[in-house]
Symmetry: C2
Amino acid sequence: MIELECLFCEEKHRLDLFNSFCPECGEPLLFFTPRRKRKFALDKILTLEKFLEFLPLSRVDPRLSLGEGNTPLVPLRRLRQKYGFPPVFAKNEAMNPTGSFKDRGTAVAVQKASEMGIKRIGTVSTGNMAASTAAYGAKAGFKTFVFLKEDSTPEKILSTGIHGAVLVKVKGDYGKLFKASFEIGKKQNIYFMNSVDPLRIEGYKITGYEIFLQLGCRAPRYIFVPVSSGGHLIGLIRSFQDLKREGLIQSLPIFVGVQAKGCSPLAHAFAQGMSKFHRLSRAETIAHAISNPAPPAGNLVLKLIRENTGLIMAVTDREILAAQRELAEFEGIFADPASATTLAGLIKLSKSRRSRPRDEAVLVITGSGLKSMETLKKQDIAVHKASLERLYSALAGK
Amino acid sequence: MIELECLFCEEKHRLDLFNSFCPECGEPLLFFTPRRKRKFALDKILTLEKFLEFLPLSRVDPRLSLGEGNTPLVPLRRLRQKYGFPPVFAKNEAMNPTGSFKDRGTAVAVQKASEMGIKRIGTVSTGNMAASTAAYGAKAGFKTFVFLKEDSTPEKILSTGIHGAVLVKVKGDYGKLFKASFEIGKKQNIYFMNSVDPLRIEGYKITGYEIFLQLGCRAPRYIFVPVSSGGHLIGLIRSFQDLKREGLIQSLPIFVGVQAKGCSPLAHAFAQGMSKFHRLSRAETIAHAISNPAPPAGNLVLKLIRENTGLIMAVTDREILAAQRELAEFEGIFADPASATTLAGLIKLSKSRRSRPRDEAVLVITGSGLKSMETLKKQDIAVHKASLERLYSALAGK
């Protein structure tokens, strides 16, 4: 059993790992923060070991690690110059073992599963989380079950299936599938580590600690992060709350959650000042990794953004494509469209006199562009042709 | 001008960056190793800064870095168990910024270009090196030229083109194109950092230093690495030669270069005891990243492998596919087919009574499986289907 709390009901619940939503209000539960003083162990090699005191794990089994985390924080000098930004950095989570930030969360959840003697895990996903869960499941020697949406692309299916996971394409509503997975998991002893799993959220905190350390033990003024289920953003907020509680920073960054306009239930609710979002009946965006019409932690995101300083905004597919191109052309980072929302968001905010960022910003790049190659067909990329003999003249003037 | 040496003619040459093959014998030139004592600077963050004294750079410009290197060395516990291997590790170079080991070399070459005031760079490549050069060129604000083979896949082209490189698909012989690029570069002031560029090779040395440090300041007994042009293997050999010269290790690892049977000119020459290889007229393997019928550093590889302990072997496409699957299913690493040759090589050697590895081995995983998704169609991956209602029964017995 694990102890979790509901930030809405303000109550604690003792639960198994099979379902971590509040039995009273249905919102996602989180681990609560112990009152004791905690310390980093920066001499360790594995990121989970470095930040163990901040995680709900009693120990780390190094045999379950794929070398997640410890990703670079890269200054975006040329984009800064072009746009007259304040200093801006990319935290490149695409450099995780399976190419996305999901590995941070999976790594923690798999440790806990192992600690509790659970050897069957699963997830409901169409992309990054599926590949991540299947990879860590393989490393641990677990049996891994992945429920895929009917319209999942062959690429996503194959790069998950290669890890030997049991893949099931499920016909039917995705939201219902999400809920059904917990029931099935309970009956069949499968720990479904879905998007807002509290252990995943604990794993995402490490990204925040690393940003703090990489900036020389400071918080940035802004953190831009793509928002889908909401779990990643919640993890980042909690990491800086931790740092403040430990007296390491004075104030929290301004968190900017970015959604794609074609699927932006939280940006809409935020703009309207609502405390609960309306689930959408359809979503349409090229940023598939954040195309989530009913984010399970959506209300919790709205609450945390309201209580701390922050905002949720939306950017169009056109802005996303342009930002993806600029990250690649100016900074050498080939990010997926979801990640590019962060730059698109910064550019958009910079045009607003009132909310223009005037201080250091970090963009969290959540996944590799190699994971959504289909989008590239929408980018206008020129290819010249020449014979070997005419190569020299083909380059003239270039 | 830079000073390079030919290990065949044993002569030094002062050259510009535009062509680094021996003017006398045509073999690739290398930087020579200074006699002074050198030290690591492990308190630094960037890998180039950590190992600066071992590189032919006078300083490191951090603005040109994408956060390359510092990749994990992951114990392969489950494969070890399955096969009864000695301890075996994966050095996961797929976790570099553009998903392959090429970034190590590009990072050094781009530093040198910048140091020498060159702002136009290029490469001849069909895959990993093209994307890497284009990404680092973009980061530096250079103009980047990439010559592609006529049959390059759209995926490879797009993931290079997104960085704004000038792409030219060239009709004609690949070997001739390689040579022509240096002439064109000289005329048009473009530094073509091709596969066996001496600065690239210096960059690959860092992988060796990291392996040494990650093992607790020891050399492994074996290093398995895929062999294409030969540059990567040469860099690895030189790194351990450096460590020996500094008195940090007593003896060199046994280097095992692995080629794909359908394109194995060096394995063939090695088996025949030849000091020079014969270029092939055709190549046929699923391991596209190492499908090189005329490796420009081939003779140098044969010389170094002969002078140090080592061997070059070949594995079949069938063995490569099986190894790719096992790396993913047992260890959670989704590697490209070229990388999987290392595991296939280890499995093959383990079956030989005479040359079975009896001590620690490191497999160098050179590139991400996400970079050759087309291969996955050859893997037999099952996808089950179920409606939401029948999901529970669909899992029964699984």
